[in-house]
């Protein structure tokens, strides 16, 4: 029976691909929904608040409630708007954001496709997302959205250059544009690209924040100046699409950063045998999550919620037990490390938002053109020179390029 199913799937590979796409799409939508929850929670803790607490235990059902609210809202199209473009724009943003995941390797054995121009594809498609913003802002027939969209366009142009050049530095080391190959290369070299390209990493990090229009570079939606920026005139479901696109883009840039710089699905120090105990990190993580949930439950003021948290903690314990089985542990190793790294990046995104005030427009351009691009260029040149003189890059040889 199972054998038959496997044979059938091997014969019809496209079905397997469809199943993978479905899994990625559904999981991603869930992650994005709870990313909003996480953002609200983390932000409120940083501001000495509690955040959503009333919808479900600890506000856990808040994303569901928000979704329902947005779907039930009236869908307003402003008079004088270019209706076709107005309706199309949010869809472009969302499609561009989701398409990128088709080439991101979540684990060594789990990715939708591995094409030899993976990174080029990602950069190309994710830049299409800006069309959604510009068209949406233009078609609204309103000045705030238009100004927001123009800012967004200018910002993307400025920072995409720096981000692209930072990534080229990594490409010079990896000799490949394929995302899977880039991670494999890091495994062969036994060192992550961050340690070889620290400057490129920092530049990409800053440019990524700017490209996703997030604080402190969220000028397209600067509410004190532009109301809500490009999506001022959007409401209901279409607004939800923009929202979805923004948060999906956050996940996208985190995934790219993890793949390019932090070794993708690789365990930290994967080549060091002495650190093999790190393979048990998933078990520890689940146990830790269980303990944390139990602690939350003990602090909870509503008796019913205590039972819920107890059940959740038990579930975590069961999962930890399940993960402790060696076969399962090996299977989830890659996806676990990838997930942890991406989560760390997402947390950092929220952390920046909770810390930094928004840049002024001229400051934004100044940082982009006067600092980021020259430094990225310098890094690129130094890397290229080192790469030219050291034909086969070994970690020790490339270590010379650390400062570059």
């Amino acid at each position: 029976m199972v054998q038959n199913a496997i044979e059938f799937l091997q014969a019809h590979l496209f079905i397997l691909a469809l199943i993978k796409i479905l899994i990625v799409l559904l999981v991603l939508s869930g992650i994005v929904a709870y990313l909003v929850y996480m953002e609200r929670k983390v932000l409120s803790f940083m501001q000495a608040r509690l955040g959503p607490m009333r919808v479900g235990p600890w506000g856990l059902l808040q994303p569901v409630a928000d979704g329902i609210k947005l779907l039930l809202k009236e869908d307003i199209i402003p008079a004088g708007a270019d209706k076709f473009v107005f309706l199309l724009a949010p869809a472009i943003s969302v499609m561009a954001a989701f398409t990128v995941f088709s080439v991101i390797p979540f684990a060594g054995n789990f990715y939708i496709s591995d094409i030899n121009i993976g990174l080029l594809f990602i950069l190309g498609v994710s830049s299409l997302g800006i069309y959604g913003i510009i068209l949406g802002g233009w078609s609204s027939n309103s000045h705030y959205p238009l100004l927001g969209a123009l800012r967004s366009g200018a910002q993307l142009v400025s920072y995409e250059v720096a981000a692209g050049m930072a990534l080229v530095g990594v490409l010079l080391i990896s000799n490949s544009l394929s995302m899977v190959e880039i991670v494999n290369r890091q495994q062969q070299m036994g060192v992550w690209n961050v340690f070889l390209q620290p400057v490129a990493f920092v530049i990409y990090l800053i440019a990524a924040v700017a490209e996703t229009n997030r604080n402190p570079f969220d000028l397209p939606e600067a509410e004190s100046e532009l109301t809500a920026g490009f999506h001022t005139e959007y409401s209901g479901f279409r607004f939800a699409l923009y929202f979805l696109a923004e948060y999906t883009n956050m996940v996208v840039v985190s995934c790219i950063a993890v793949t390019m710089f932090l070794g993708g699905w690789l365990r930290p120090f994967a080549s060091l045998r002495a650190l093999d105990f790190l393979n048990y990190a998933p078990v520890v993580a689940f146990l830790g999550a269980g303990a944390f949930i139990l602690w939350l439950g003990l602090k909870s003021l509503v008796p019913l919620e205590r039972y819920f948290f107890l059940a959740l903690a038990l579930a975590c314990l069961v999962l930890a037990g399940l993960v402790a089985i060696p076969a399962v542990l090996n299977a989830i190793q890659g996806i676990f490390w990838f997930g942890i790294k991406v989560l760390a990046f997402l947390y950092a995104f929220i952390w920046y938002r909770g810390t930094f005030p928004r840049y002024r427009y001229d400051q934004l351009m100044n940082v982009g053109w006067h600092w980021m691009i020259p430094i990225a260029l310098g890094n690129l040149i130094v890397t290229a020179l080192v790469r030219y003189f050291v034909s086969s890059p070994t970690p020790s040889a490339l270590g010379a390029g650390l400062g570059g």
Partner: protein
């Protein structure tokens, strides 16, 4: 010159930004949370806080402590207390009705001070919102029941 150098180092390694990040990170500790979940948790009010009035009963016999002396009514600057009484056969005053109009009350506490037997008391209950003005006029029964803090259940 060293001044310039330290400044440069601070700029290059984004020292100030990292300091800011450290501060916001530290605020995530649970003890820093300032929010109180109101219906579930209540902030303690000050000891001398004057809130909803109550007409005290004798703790053992359950009879009212009020001797219908009408002093509270006379003390009230707003004239919002109406004490009703009847004479018993032995010519003693007995409390019959007691009306307290909370909608006009400014919680000055003069009635409480005037009461010679500590029958009338302004409690610490602050949840006295009503949907109508009528609901704010409390009769003797409501006053004797005392504060009814909202019970929150889920």
């Amino acid at each position: 010159m060293p001044m310039v150098l330290t400044d440069l180092i601070r700029r290059v390694f984004l020292v100030d930004l990292i300091k800011g990040l450290k501060l916001t990170f530290s605020y995530q500790r649970p003890s820093a949370t300032y929010t109180e979940q109101y219906p579930l948790e209540r902030a303690p009010v000050a000891e001398r806080y004057r809130g909803a009035p109550r007409l005290n009963n004798h703790p053992e016999t359950g009879e009212t402590l009020c001797i219908a002396c009408n002093l509270c009514s006379l003390a009230c600057p707003e004239n919002l207390i109406a004490v009703g009484w009847a004479r018993t056969e032995d010519r003693k005053k007995r409390l019959t009705t007691f009306t307290y109009d909370l909608s006009r009350c400014m919680f000055c506490g003069l009635c409480e001070d005037a009461c010679p037997v500590d029958a009338l008391e302004l409690t610490q209950d602050f949840e006295i919102a009503q949907y109508s003005r009528q609901g704010l006029i409390w009769d003797r029964q409501a006053l004797e029941e005392g504060p009814r803090p909202t019970r929150y259940t889920r």
